[in-house]
Amino acid sequence: MRLRVVAALAGLALYLVVVPLVFRESRYLLGVLTTASVLSLISLGVWLTFAIGRINIGQAAFALVGGYTTAILSVKLGVSFWLCLPASGLVAALVGAVIGWPILRLKGVYFAMITLTLTEAARLAALNGGSITQGATGILNIPLPGEVTLAGVVLVPAFRALNVHLAFYYLAAILLVLGLVTVTRIATCRLGWIFRSLRQDEALAASIGVNVAKYRVLAFALGCSFAGIAGAFFTVSQQSIYPSSFGVPDSVYYMLYCFLGGLSYVSGPVVGAFVLFLGFELLHGLREYQMLTYAAIMITLMLWLPNGLLSLRLPARPGVKADTA
């Protein structure tokens, strides 16, 4: 237990202090790590729906909702990014709750398929949103995050006055740490047990007084809010959003990061997103064979470690349990 705390703190120091100090001028590497952090955040949201036993291939839809929320609020209404960010999470959560209420009655392949459709529906909505979403043109020239002051003291300087890549790296890192802490807390408190009970048997959960519909929606909407926040981040860091910014392939990737990282662990989606996204970038030198090699590696991983990369860590677990019995 203590070893794990030390390891977590060391990882945190590496992530928040060492990496940004050493690589502050390498824009490419910082950019890749920043993207991996935000992809991890999105995938953590998908993991929450896995926790209640639903395969969610609709996460890109909610990233789109968050992205457009930020784009519209900041460009058309001049709202500060620092308000847009939580607002995007909130709007995505609300949309998630409204859509989730009916569709979470479905299970297995039916739920997965309808969420997949949702991703495409969100793209079509953005494409045909008239002057609100500006159709295929998208919304451009989204301002960088401005400064945050409290009683005359500058808490966060305007991003354009900073090393922008480093600033976004830090923002992504802080969001991911907050997301990870939140999900870890959920998984360890009774909410986590309730979610697991839903995954294992919804009828039995209802028989012990669990409001199945409510907790299903809670888990799903919370997961959607992660997508909304991540969508807002990407929109601002790229200063633009299009209907195609987040699509079906993205939804599939977010789900795969969870699978390949390991569904039994909160850190699964983070490990999955970092390993796969960094791996993809490392294969860059292979040029036209990059995609093919990447796909081959993913398939091999799935066959070799069906319970995810993190299952490498605990090979002896079932045996240990049997021994203590």
Partner: protein
């Protein structure tokens, strides 16, 4: 004292009337058994009472309050708790974890309170753990409390199913074939446990095919056939009831233990 009243409860599946205008009352602290041939509608009746299936018609009154049409989790919260005919447990949790989470309906903390680990949440958690250990002791499961549920033998699984239901502190407990698949010794032990639960003042509705156990346990018996109630009385009255014998003719001779 009447604790539960079922009035004209009816369930239609397309053309099939699985439960047909069934009316009965359950008295406080009794074991009331519901027997009948396979497909008679016993499990369906339980699912209607606990709102696991929407009814076609009829009412369920619990402690003077109409609970028909409440959501299943709310019926459980009122104190009307069912077990399942098929072994139903949280497979990927230990026996103890199964029973701790089953205390959920006694929880006082909100979702936010659980997340922030407020004092109420911590108190609940500690109380649930103690109570869960007690229930596991009572049902003879204390030795396997840390065993993952899916590795437990059948007899223990049936007992765990009852332990889960007991965690909600039910006033009326509906047991659907609790002795199925058990050998005679296991059944004897479970019969004693069910008596123990009854002696604590819990009213028990029991669906069971093991007639020896039913005759020993029941204060009263209701007989269903093709969804209809055909008899209602003490074990002795039921054993000599013409309609009941008729319903069972052509079935295993000793099924009624007559």
């Amino acid at each position: 004292m009447i604790v539960m009243e079922v009035r004209e409860l009816t369930k239609r599946f397309g053309g099939l009337v699985a439960v047909d205008h069934v009316t009965f009352q359950a008295n406080q602290g009794e074991v009331l058994s519901i027997i009948g041939p396979n497909g008679a509608g016993k499990s369906t009746l339980f699912k209607l009472i606990t709102s696991f299936l929407p009814r076609t018609a009829g009412r369920v009154i619990f402690q003077g309050e109409d609970i028909t049409g409440l959501s299943a989790h709310l019926v459980a919260r009122k104190g009307v708790v069912r077990t399942f005919q098929e072994t139903t447990i949280f497979k990927e949790m230990s026996a103890l974890e199964n029973v701790v989470i089953a205390h959920h309906l006694r929880s006082r903390a909100t979702s936010v309170g659980l997340f922030l680990n407020t004092r109420v949440a911590r108190q609940d958690e500690a109380a649930f753990r103690d109570s869960a250990n007690e229930i596991l002791d009572d049902l003879g499961l204390s030795r396997v409390r840390h065993e993952e549920a899916r590795h437990l033998p059948h007899g223990h699984l049936r007992a765990l199913g009852i332990a889960i239901a007991m965690a909600g502190d039910p006033k009326v407990l509906l047991l659907d074939e609790p002795f199925s698949g058990m050998n005679p010794e296991e059944t004897d032990r479970m019969v004693a446990m069910v008596r123990g639960i009854r002696d604590r003042g819990v009213t028990i509705l029991l669906v069971e095919h093991d007639m020896r156990a039913v005759m020993r346990l029941s204060d009263r018996i209701i007989v269903l056939n093709f969804g209809r109630k055909i008899a209602d009385g003490t074990p002795r009255e039921i054993q000599s009831d013409e309609a009941v014998i008729e319903a069972y003719i052509g079935r295993e001779d000793d099924e009624l233990g007559i």
